[in-house]
């Protein structure tokens, strides 16, 4: 019996060994090829991304407005942390178990609190003078990256940035002392590293801690030009994941085309028809490559038309040269399969996760950022094969030179700051459209936004900014739209002249009001102006004159001119968030006021820039630039090195422009008692005369009965040499001639100097 049972055991063992041998044969003989491929896949090169240097932002004279400065980050090897395993597993569990983002956030904040309570964190925080909560926040983000497999546990991952060099040096010295003290006590170094025990955390030795040099974005002039420069943020890990899912991290042309085609797919049919008409193709076959090819071939007027259609993004994409070097290298090295897998692990290949969030930092992000380089290292290579290693150097970010003139910008910001209302100032070169100044008040300090944003004081400051009722983050100069007021009259006059519907010398009697459709429309101040011709009407801002003129020209005809000079649409300034304003032509009414009838009275209001008309200060400045340069519309731009475009065809004849300019000149410079220009006082009474002659149009735009009107003053200077066009806007400031014009005077005096 015993022998039989031993035989049974033998048989069982033979069966078990047979099973294992079978499995061995399955792996080694049947599925050999599969595993061979997997091993090739395993021969994963050490693909290390190398961050490009982000370009600086300069003003037109080369003065630095934003630049990367060196910064020290504390980094830690996750595998050396005493709480590594536990925390990584908890992070993974949290990610796996969370059913919605809220739960995940709760789990993470609980984890954060636990990390903040760890002796390691508290002791380190005390040594570098930071709050443990702040360190824990960074630490959790770093460990999260490790938990997701984006970083190895054996490489240092930064978790606290902006460490003072002196603090790091002191910390390192303490580290070394502690390490040697520990070694001297006879604790086997290998054992203590392999199995850090809790007692060690109380000592000043922080295993795995190191310091990495990195960069921080600095804006040396603080709030100066903040709205133009914008802010730099950091891609959140989840955003990175989304981007990775869409395959856009490696900045390749085909990726852009894919996103663009998604955009195109979401276009309204009407828009597609317009674009197809412009491009001379069939709307049904409007494919992305075809579109880009057509866009690349467009001449300047075509490009402008394309921009007006909202194809600006596509234009920029079509301009970008395709960068295929990376793809070729990958395929050469890794084969198709691994190329795909590299794409999947792309977040690790994005070493600089900073991204422009607003301002030119965002608009010109590609230019400033450059492109990441990659270095391929295949491990386990024989010496002779090392030549196969390959580096793709990062393409450094370019410096961005702006058209901004610091002298003008400073003058504009000083003028705005001299009063308490929010407002905006825009100064354009009236021939090229270059933006010399673009100021919005109140302003903010973009340094507050520069990553990393951890830390309670920073968070509090940001919260205060976001909750400020005066909206300091709003760029009123290009993103704020306000009723334009009497500045509109300059356009009405030019349109009527251009259409031949106005004799500039013909007089009209102003009784101070006009009745239309059972409603009385007043002149400013309700006083009769008497007999006024065009010059007088512009000089004294007679509403009645322009009510009649506006009604005569009609909203539709006026709209064509408005659109041509840049009202009612975006001016295509290279700054995100630009508002288009509104002009109530038929298309606009169909969209916003469907089924409502249009009346002559509404034509009246349109003609004096009230009612449905709204514009940004930038648009008002562009209107002045067009009149000042003899009738050519300008496209404002901030990038000084943008490829030059041929000047646009004139909208107004030189004669028209000259006639309107005469009126604008008188509005500032004629002080005849009883028929004084609306801005005369600001420039000539009780102030030193300017060395240049200024012309312009005031505007006082009523909003509600409770609040004071918006104050506008838009003009150009010097009136004879035509250099700059400007617009000063004060939100709820009051009368244009009394509030906005003095600010313009103040700014111009700063730039041109006090009188002689």
């Amino acid at each position: 019996m015993f022998r039989f049972r031993v035989h049974v055991l033998s048989a069982l063992l033979i069966a078990a060994f047979g099973l294992v041998l079978g499995r061995l044969a399955q792996l080694q003989l049947v599925r050999h090829e599969v595993y061979l491929a997997a091993r090739a896949h395993q021969t994963r090169p050490q693909v290390e991304a190398r961050a490009p240097k982000r370009g600086s932002i300069l003003d037109r004279d080369g003065q630095v407005l934003a630049a990367d400065v060196p910064s020290f980050d504390l980094a830690v090897r996750a595998d050396k942390l005493p709480f590594e395993r536990v925390t990584l597993n908890e992070i993974r569990d949290a990610r796996r178990q969370a059913r919605n983002p809220d739960e995940l956030a709760r789990a993470f904040s609980a984890l954060e609190a636990r990390l903040a309570g760890e002796a390691w964190t508290r002791s380190l925080a005390a040594r570098i003078g930071r709050a443990p909560e702040e360190l824990a926040q960074g630490l959790l983000r770093a460990l999260d990256r490790v938990a997701r497999g984006w970083e190895r546990a054996t490489t240092p991952v930064p978790f606290a940035s902006g460490i003072d060099a002196a603090v790091w040096n002191a910390l390192r010295a303490a580290q070394e002392d502690a390490f040697f003290a520990q070694a001297a006590q006879g604790v086997p170094a290998a054992a203590s590293v392999a199995a850090p025990v809790r007692e060690e955390t109380a000592s000043p030795y922080f295993a795995g801690l190191s310091c990495l040099t990195s960069v921080r974005r600095a804006y040396p002039h603080g709030t100066f030009l903040a709205h133009v420069l914008g802010t730099l943020g950091e891609l959140h890990p989840d955003q990175l994941e989304q981007l990775r899912a869409r395959g856009v991290l490696l900045d390749r042309l085909e990726d852009r085309e894919r996103i663009w085609s998604e955009t195109l797919g979401a276009w309204p049919a009407e828009h597609r028809r317009q674009a197809a008409g412009l491009l001379g193709t069939d709307p049904a076959t409007l494919s992305v490559p075809a579109l880009l090819a057509v866009l690349r071939g467009l001449d300047d007027p075509g490009r402008r038309a394309a921009r007006a259609l909202g194809l600006g993004d596509a234009l920029r994409w079509s301009d970008a040269p395709p960068r295929v070097a990376l793809g070729e290298a990958e395929r050469f090295w890794l084969g198709e399969e691994l190329t795909q897998s590299l794409r999947r692990t792309a977040p690790a290949a994005l070493p600089d996760t900073r991204i422009g969030e607003s301002g030119v930092e965002a608009w010109h992000n590609q230019l400033l950022r450059g492109e990441s380089g990659l270095s391929f290292r295949l491990d386990g290579l024989e010496e002779s094969q090392r030549a196969l290693h390959r580096d793709i150097a990062p393409r450094q970010g370019s410096n961005l030179r702006l058209t901004i003139s610091s002298a003008w910008q400073r003058a504009a910001e000083e003028a705005l700051a001299s009063q308490s209302h929010p407002g905006a100032v825009v100064v354009l070169d009236c021939r090229s459209g270059e933006v010399l100044a673009l100021a919005s008040g109140p302003s903010f300090d973009p340094n507050l936004f520069a990553p990393p944003r951890e830390g309670a004081p920073r968070q509090a400051a940001l919260k205060a900014l976001l909750e400020d009722a005066r909206l300091p983050l709003l760029n009123r100069a290009s993103a704020g739209q306000y009723p334009l007021g009497s500045v509109m009259k300059a356009l009405v006059a030019a349109a009527a002249l251009e259409l031949g519907q106005l004799d500039p010398h013909a007089g009209l009697s102003c009784p101070g009001h006009v009745d239309e459709g059972g409603r009385r429309f007043h002149c400013d101040g309700r006083r009769p102006h008497g007999l006024v011709d065009l010059d007088q009407a512009l000089r004294r801002s007679c509403n009645v004159y322009f009510y009649r003129l506006g009604a005569q020209v009609g909203a539709e005809a006026l709209g064509r001119f408005a659109y041509a000079v840049g009202l009612g649409r975006r001016t295509e300034l290279d700054l995100p968030g630009e508002a288009g304003g509104a002009y109530p032509d038929a298309a606009w009414r169909a969209r916003h006021l469907p089924g409502q009838s249009w009346s002559r009275g509404k034509d009246f209001l349109t003609a004096i820039g009230q009612g449905y008309v709204s514009a940004t200060p930038l648009q008002a400045a562009a209107l002045m630039a067009c009149l000042a340069n003899g009738g050519r519309p300008v496209t404002p731009r901030l990038w000084a090195d943008a490829p030059a475009e041929a000047p646009a065809a004139p909208v107004f004849s030189a004669r028209t422009a000259a006639l309107v300019r005469q009126g604008l000149d008188e509005a500032v410079n004629v002080g005849t008692p009883g028929a004084m220009g609306t801005a005369y006082k600001a420039f000539h009474q009780g102030v030193a005369p300017l060395p240049v002659r200024v012309a312009g149009k005031t505007g006082t735009a009523d909003v509600t009965d409770e609040q004071p009107p918006h104050a506008w003053f838009a003009g150009y200077a010097p009136a004879h040499a035509l250099q700059v066009a400007f617009c000063v806007f004060v939100e709820h400031g009051g009368h244009g001639g009394e509030v906005a014009a003095p600010l313009a005077y103040r700014m111009l005096r700063t730039v041109y100097g006090g009188g002689r």
Binding site: V8, Y35, A194, E382
Partner: protein, 386 residues
């Protein structure tokens, strides 16, 4: 009946002659298997210990030293009558239980309290427990028949369960688990009822389920989950499993060659010279070498069981069964882990993996087996364990 068997002892013969006689009676087939396994293992330890194409001399030398120590232990066991050891086995068992308790109060190494740090060598009492446990159980079972009842199984099972529980506390799941097949094999061979063993088995499964919830650490649970779903855990727990499978699979029939710089295991497999040495052998030596190794283990076990059949002395029979199943079972579990058939347990490949305690323990077990096999006996009684 059981009491009347007797062994012949040659008290008159000189020591050297007895030694020579013993040598002649040794199972040289068994020893040949052992020698081949050790030689094969040593060759691949040299490969695994190196980096790239170079040999890891330091590791190789230490491994050879452990092999030499193991051989010494083997020889030492031959000098003693195993019946003497059997008599002392309760004492040894208690001493080792004491060590297993004591080791729980040491500083953990790699997260487990399994080793006494003796500076020269880390002593692992759980490894030494294996031969002692086989002896102790054999000692208990040899004069009894109580285990043929279900209630009588309690004490022999207790002999296994107490050290198992202590080893689990370290925690060392692998070593604890390898005791299970020994327990079943020895009790089955001794003649416990199959239905009783099945009941015990069911209870064991219930116990495992309970352990999952109350005893296992989350990382241990994760290892098992990783084994069930490697993709989900690919970066961490399943890393070794995937790497091991890839290494083995890419070895093919012929292997990548000894100490190949391109071998997967060389670069990506942690613990390649201890728990995952089988993957190194399978990758570099291919199916031929890995298959040969498995075959050698099988032949070794069958030779051990042949001794069990040949010997008539009851304790020796059980010792032979226990040792054979121990060596074969551990080899099977180790290879099964490397092949992705079983969850990662952290168990060495006997006679092959680098590590002093494991090697010496294996040699002690084999020494017992050889000792049993070399015993000359005169059988007067009927067969035991009916």
């Amino acid at each position: 009946m059981n009491q009347v068997w007797q062994t012949t002892t040659h008290r008159a013969a000189p020591v050297s002659a007895r030694w020579l006689e013993h040598l002649v009676r040794l199972d040289w087939f068994l020893l040949g298997c052992v020698a081949l396994i050790v030689a094969l293992g040593t060759a691949f330890i040299a490969s695994a210990g190196g980096s790239g194409a170079s040999i890891g001399w330091g590791l190789l030398l230490r491994h050879c030293a452990y092999v030499a120590l193991g051989l010494a232990a083997f020889a030492a066991v031959q000098r003693v009558d195993y019946l003497v050891l059997l008599r002392w086995s309760p004492v040894l068992y208690v001493v080792l239980l004491g060590l297993l308790v004591a080791v729980l109060f040491t500083r953990p190494i790699n997260g487990a309290r399994s080793w006494f740090n003796l500076y020269v060598v880390n002593l692992q009492p759980s490894e030494l427990m294996k031969p002692v446990l086989v002896l102790a159980v054999a000692h208990y079972l040899m004069y009894r028949e109580s285990y043929k009842r279900l209630s009588g199984l309690l004490i022999p099972l207790g002999l296994f369960l107490v050290p198992m529980a202590l080893i689990l506390r370290q925690p060392d799941l692998g070593t604890a688990m390898v005791l299970v097949p020994i327990a079943f094999a020895m009790l089955y061979a001794a003649g416990a009822k199959k239905t009783d063993l099945a009941l015990v088995n069911l209870a064991g499964i219930a116990g495992m389920v309970g352990m999952w919830y109350w005893v296992m650490k989350p990382y241990q649970q994760r290892r098992i989950l990783a084994w069930l779903d490697p993709e989900q855990y690919r970066h961490h727990e399943a890393w070794q499993l995937l790497q091991s499978e890839i290494a083995i699979g890419s070895g093919g029939l012929w292997g990548t060659g000894w100490s190949s710089a391109h071998a997967n295991a060389q670069r990506f497999l942690p613990e390649k010279h201890t728990d995952f040495i089988f993957a190194v052998i399978a990758e570099e030596g291919g199916f031929l070498m890995a298959g040969l190794l498995l075959l050698l283990f099988l032949l070794l076990a069958l030779a051990g069981l042949r001794i069990a059949r040949r010997v008539r002395e009851p304790a020796g029979r059980l010792i032979a069964v226990g040792v054979s199943v121990l060596i074969a079972g551990q080899a099977l579990i180790n290879a099964g882990v490397a092949l992705g058939l079983l969850p990662t347990t952290g168990l060495t490949l006997p006679l092959v993996s680098y590590g002093g305690s494991s090697l010496i323990s294996s040699f002690l077990c084999l020494g017992l087996l050889a000792n049993v096999g070399a015993k000359q006996e005169v059988v007067l009684a009927g067969e035991d364990f009916r």
